[in-house]
């Protein structure tokens, strides 16, 4: 029987093909907060945006918290110490307002988004699109019928200015500024993002969608998203992230808060494909009230370091929370992802399925938190983490923390580590597939049951991205 070449695993993993996102245009910015972070920068951002005093105070308070918190390197990677906060630009904008038709978007920005395929997608099936270029939304379009139903889809500035009665109540409540150092940073300098309100009983059939793009070097993007699904409503939100390659590291630090009121359902889908020098440090958390459901579908393929643990606070009886996560870490990448499930009411259930693939010297880490306190009963959690290691020095870590008390509560956590077997590859090659094709197929098989859960448009994209990543991995 033919032996599989033992050395194939040692060969270099390929460079990611970023044909879709790896391009940039020269931009001249009308507003530039300069380099570094201090109260003056925060005031500048607030002033440019014409914010009310309470928002400015919120930002300044958050900056103090940020300054006071240490880097979480006592548990997280020391790579965080390579972020030079003093070298980052915290606000860049062309002075544009979000425009409503594609024709109004400035040509150079339009070129960027055309390459990202936004108008095309929108024409095809998207209910609404919000695209963010560096700090500000440049294009926003929503189908008229949704507007008629009372759906609000705008940026944080508009949201807090025009609909304070809806958004102010929850803004910074699901994730307070003091939650962690990067949530504090975002709270101080946030700009752009999506504020969405779905009225009672409204079920938005098509996904709402956002694109985030970093175009400028040494730039930090700090968008802020708040989605409120009122009683009995349903919505799916999808975000895609890209950035061109820069010589120096770039920071993306978002805060995403979801509120699913009684009986509401929110599904939040992310496909993150930042270039490999982006520090992607994102805080995402949802609150699920009685009978509500919050579902995070999170896919991390790009970035240098991602730290992201989407969470659900199950606050109402019978609430459900779910995190489905796929991470792919190639050479030089660390995908530090996971999930948090905080049970805070009876009869709540949560489910976490996390799959990671480490290629070359890539490292993927799962961190999980499941908490069921003493006062509760009939709560359940199920967690599965599976790691696939492609090459000899690929790395994976799993660090769950599970705390259970109360009555008739049960949790189950399982994790496994495996590789694609040489037998499997040989079998497929015997059927005429190349090694790369066989490896892609095996990896796609590994994530298949999760990919199925993604909206169609994204699952196709995801499979393609995985194939691109896998092609060179076996030489």
């Amino acid at each position: 029987m033919a032996e599989i070449d033992d050395n194939l695993a040692q060969r270099e993993a390929i460079e990611v093909d970023r044909s879709k996102g790896d391009f940039k245009y020269e931009e001249s910015y009308a507003f530039d907060a300069g380099v570094g972070l201090n109260p003056g920068v925060v005031d500048y951002i607030s002033q440019v945006k014409g914010e009310e005093p309470w928002i400015r105070e919120f930002r300044q308070k958050a900056l103090k918290i940020f300054d006071g918190l240490p880097m979480p390197t006592h548990w997280a990677t020391t790579d965080l110490d390579n972020i030079k906060f003093e070298d980052i630009r915290y606000y860049l904008a062309k002075g544009q307002k979000a425009v409503r038709t594609w024709e109004e978007v400035p040509d150079d920005v339009k070129k960027t988004f055309e390459r990202l395929g936004i108008p095309e997608s929108e024409r095809k099936f998207l209910a609404g699109v919000e695209a963010q270029f560096d700090s500000e939304a440049v294009y926003s379009r929503m189908k008229e019928e949704l507007e008629k139903l009372g759906v609000i889809f705008c940026g944080p500035n508009e949201g807090l200015r025009d609909h304070p009665e809806i958004f102010r109540k929850w803004f910074g409540k699901v994730i307070p500024a003091g939650d962690n150092k990067f949530a504090a940073l975002n709270s101080a300098v946030f700009s752009g993002g999506s504020f969405i309100y779905i009225p009672k009983g409204v079920k938005v059939a098509q996904p709402l969608q956002a694109y985030f793009r970093i175009n400028a070097e040494n730039f930090g993007q700090f968008e802020r998203t708040l989605i409120i699904a009122d009683e009995g409503s349903e919505v799916t939100y999808m975000e895609g992230c890209t950035a061109p390659k820069f010589e120096t590291a770039t920071l993306h630090s978002a805060v995403v808060e979801l509120v699913a009121l009684k009986g509401a359902k929110i599904q939040y889908v992310t496909v993150q494909n930042w270039s490999a020098n982006v520090f992607n440090l994102v805080t995402k958390r949802g609150v699920a009230e009685e009978g509500a459901e919050v579902r995070w579908i999170d896919c991390n393929i790009g970035s240098r370091l991602t730290m992201k643990y989407p969470g659900v606070v199950l606050r109402g009886k019978g609430a459900r929370g779910e995190v489905l996560s796929i991470a792919l870490a190639n050479d030089g990448q660390h995908q530090d992802t996971g999930a948090k499930m905080i049970h805070a009411a009876d009869d709540t259930t949560s489910n976490i399925i996390a799959k990671s693939i480490s290629v070359g010297a890539g490292r993927s880490t799962y961190r999980g938190l499941v908490h069921i306190p003493k006062t509760l009963k009939n709560c359940r959690n199920n967690t599965e983490c599976d790691a696939l290691l492609i090459n000899e020095h690929s790395r994976t870590d799993t660090y769950p923390a599970i705390s259970v008390r109360g009555q008739k509560n049960s949790v189950q956590h399982e994790a496994s580590v495996s590789k694609v077997s040489a037998e499997q590859i040989f079998y497929m090659m015997q059927r005429g597939l190349s090694e790369g094709e066989a490896m892609s197929l095996a990896v796609n098989g590994f994530v298949n049951d999760l990919v199925k859960e993604f909206p169609m448009e994204y699952s196709v994209e995801l499979k393609r991205l995985i194939e691109l990543q896998m092609e060179g991995s076996v030489g």
Partner: protein, 440 residues
């Protein structure tokens, strides 16, 4: 009137310094103990924010009010020796009370002739200094208990050394029993087990309180070195009195083709922390780590384990089971570490917790750090109540609810008890675990 001074405890430098005289005459050992004291002074007490102490009640840690205890009375010694016969025919038995050796092991002439040594630490210090110097406390406490191990090292003089030379097989277990009796006694028992190539050895360590509510500080440590092809099995029972704080730091090294089985049982202490590190240095090694506990009242059992695979083609399997009653808490934190070149490693880790009371809390931190790809590694953790269908089945046979629950809990624990090869040891363990259901 004369002023009463508090008796100088284990934190007293002068007393520690004076205690060094007890093991004088061995410069390296003296230096080891002094180093322990220096380390203890240097290292901070753990805090709640310390990742290695996550979930444990680090705030209530206190080492005040414990002191080395005086020699026990003859009557007490006789009574406790009588209670130390867990195994009818051990290879040899050694008994300590409050850190004083009260029964020296008597080895059969056959075993002595084969080169087997089973001696108190101080005897071994005189007879086999090289053996001690090679293995004693060679690995520190990497799981968070460094300060406590340093105090152990500073006060180290009680314990035993067991050496089974190359090719010698001893099937009968070597038994060591450590008792605390004196109120506020501080004890620091040490076990050093060295098995030569293809040696076979079985050990049972009992750590017990003379009275059920004995108050003590117990910081014990065990070093196990299993040579090529050696077969070492150990049962360690932590049954200190209910007002005891205990810390146990075990380090095990397994060489090529070594087979190591350890069962760590916990029933006693107010709070007990176990740190168990296994280093798998040779291919073909097979290490099985088991843990079992019944936690009641306000007990906290804090279990930290580390399986380090530096050599490939070796296997380790861990199973820790806890049954919790009352307001008890158990913490299981385990990590499997597979080094970059340890290909073809099989490593498993399972933690199962059975909550028998709504006020009990089980925390689980099962971890993996894998840096080689050709491995089979998995972990699983479950926490839950007794199975409703099983409960109904038992009750449908007329068994009352409480009895049915206890039966199911004992059934849950039986999987680990069955791993104790020595039937008498298993029976002793079964009895101690079972007794806890009735105290609770």
């Amino acid at each position: 009137m004369s002023t009463l001074t508090a008796p100088a405890g284990v934190l007293d430098a002068a007393r520690q310094s004076a205690d060094l005289a007890q093991t004088a005459g061995h410069a390296w050992f003296d230096a080891l103990r002094r180093q322990g004291w220096a380390d203890f002074q240097r290292l901070p007490m753990p805090t709640r924010d310390d990742e290695k102490w996550r979930f444990s009640d680090a705030r209530s840690l206190s080492l005040d009010g414990y002191a080395p205890a005086p020699e026990p009375t003859e009557a007490l010694v006789a009574a406790l020796i009588a209670r130390s016969h867990f195994v009818a025919r051990p290879a040899a038995l050694i008994v300590h009370v409050d850190g004083h050796c009260v029964l020296r092991p008597a080895l059969s002439p056959e075993l002595t002739a084969q080169g087997v040594r089973f001696e108190t630490l101080s005897d071994a210090l005189r007879h086999h200094p090289a053996l001690l110097q090679e293995h004693l406390l060679k690995h520190g406490a990497g799981l968070g208990g460094a300060k406590f191990l340093a105090l152990h090292q500073a006060w180290l003089r009680a314990g035993y050394v067991l050496f089974v030379p190359k090719g010698v097989e001893v099937r009968q277990p070597f038994v060591s029993v450590n008792w605390t009796s004196h109120d506020g006694a501080a004890v620091f028992p040490h076990a050093l087990i060295v098995a030569g190539e293809h040696a076979v050895v079985s050990v049972q360590d009992y750590h017990l309180g003379a009275t059920p509510d004995a108050r003590a500080l117990a910081i014990s440590a065990c070093d196990i070195h299993a040579g090529t092809g050696a077969n070492v099995s150990r049962l360690a029972v932590q049954g200190w009195g209910s007002r005891t704080q205990s810390f146990q730091v075990d380090n095990t090294c397994g060489g090529r083709d070594a087979l190591i089985t350890s069962v760590n049982a916990a029933v006693g202490s107010r709070r007990a922390r176990l740190e168990n590190t296994v280093r798998i240095d040779g291919p073909g090694a097979d290490v099985r780590l088991y843990g079992i506990s019944v936690a009641t009242g306000e007990q906290e059992f804090d279990q930290r384990t580390l399986q380090i695979h530096t050599a490939g083609q070796a296997k380790s399997d861990l199973l820790f089971k806890n049954a919790l009653l009352g307001k008890a808490r158990t913490i299981f934190s385990g990590l499997i570490k597979v080094a970059p070149d340890a290909q073809r490693t099989d490593a498993y880790q399972t933690n199962r917790n059975l909550l028998l009371s709504p006020d009990a809390e089980a925390d689980s931190l099962p971890g993996l750090e894998i840096e080689a790809n050709d491995v089979k590694c998995s972990h699983g953790a479950t926490t839950g109540q007794v199975d409703e269908n099983e409960l109904f089945y038992l009750r449908a046979r007329g068994i009352p609810l409480e009895v049915a629950q206890e039966l199911l809990a004992q059934g849950f624990l039986e999987e680990v008890i069955a791993k104790v090869e020595d039937e008498e040891g298993a029976e002793a363990l079964r009895g101690m675990l079972s007794a806890k259901f009735h105290q609770a």
